[in-house]
């Protein structure tokens, strides 16, 4: 399974302790996200990757070393249901 993030410029981010607010420009919808959802969106921004590549990117670029495949899949499913990530 591969995942694709929204095109560059489609999301506005505002870190709001302890969450992050994200505005999805195409739909005009606001989302409040907890970790690691903002990091997943950042990793997938403007591109696509599979689960292994995403885990590696999160570990290297965002220091999210404890993500399991199951937990990450659940978060991706949630983001897909919210319309922020596309399953390919």
């Amino acid at each position: 399974m591969r995942y694709r993030g929204p095109p560059a410029g489609a999301l506005l981010h505002a870190p709001l302790d302890p969450l992050a607010a994200v505005f999805h420009r195409p739909s005009g919808t606001t989302h409040l996200l907890a970790e690691p959802a903002p990091q997943i969106l950042a990793a997938l921004a403007g591109g696509e990757m599979d689960l292994d590549a995403l885990m590696a990117t999160l570990a290297v670029e965002h220091e999210l070393l404890d993500a399991t495949r199951d937990a990450l899949t659940e978060r991706l499913d949630e983001l897909a249901a919210a319309g922020l990530v596309e399953r390919l």
Binding site: L12, A14, L16, D17, P18, L19, A21, F23, R25, G28, T30, L32
Partner: protein, 286 residues
Amino acid sequence: MRYRFGVRVGPVSFRVGSDRRAPVAQLRDLYAGYPAPEVGIADHTVRLEAPRPWRRWLRPQVRVAGDFELPGAVPLPARHALLAAEMAMNLQMALGHRRHLLLHAATVEQGGRALVMTGESGAGKSTLAALLAGAGWRLLGDEFALIAPDTGLAHAFPRPVSLKNESVAAVRTAWPDARFGPELVGTPKGTIRHLVAPADSVARMDEPARPALIVFPRFGVAPDIRPVPPAEAFVRLTEASTNYVALGERGFAALTRLVREVPAVALDYPDGATGMAAVERCWAAL
């Protein structure tokens, strides 16, 4: 319509038409000293009219009409026409105003900095605002905080303060010089009386203020103060806004900026005096 009234309140102007004289006379009294709409053109229109022709005389009633209406709204008795006018003006703002982010909040100012108090009906924001205005704060508004998306400033919208039931006596006791509109008994919200906005608030209605503190008051409970983190403040304020969704990206930018720049506290208080003292303490600690 036979009787007409025009007024500008801060950056917003209204025109009200009525087929009865009394509500327009009451509005003129409540809004004495306010400017007329600039170049004679109002942003919002409200019409007060009898729902049926015979309702002008037989158990007289008033229904409100305007640019925005609530379908199925029940007409009020004509003796409550002033309340109908104020509610209709609120409705035009809530549904039609796009120039500012609107928060259902009472706002007061001191030293160019604004204190924004928001909560559900009954939380005591209007009473606290009236008590603070009586203690020398400048009343920016009772019903709506108007946050400019480009600057983040709170613009004044000092309409008369709608006080309900026992809060009328509480404000009158604390502020004997306060001037009120007529007592409206038996409304859907109980007894209502409008506190006339202080002359200083009206004279300075074009002076905005920088938001400095957001308070979420809750009346009638044991005193408590706790900080509200930005994410929670954001959620509460999206619920308190009547046009956040309609403003789209501008609303997102304005509201995230507000909660990131301005500290917020939840303030529980058992009575007006305790609430006022707690607000002053929070303010002094900024």
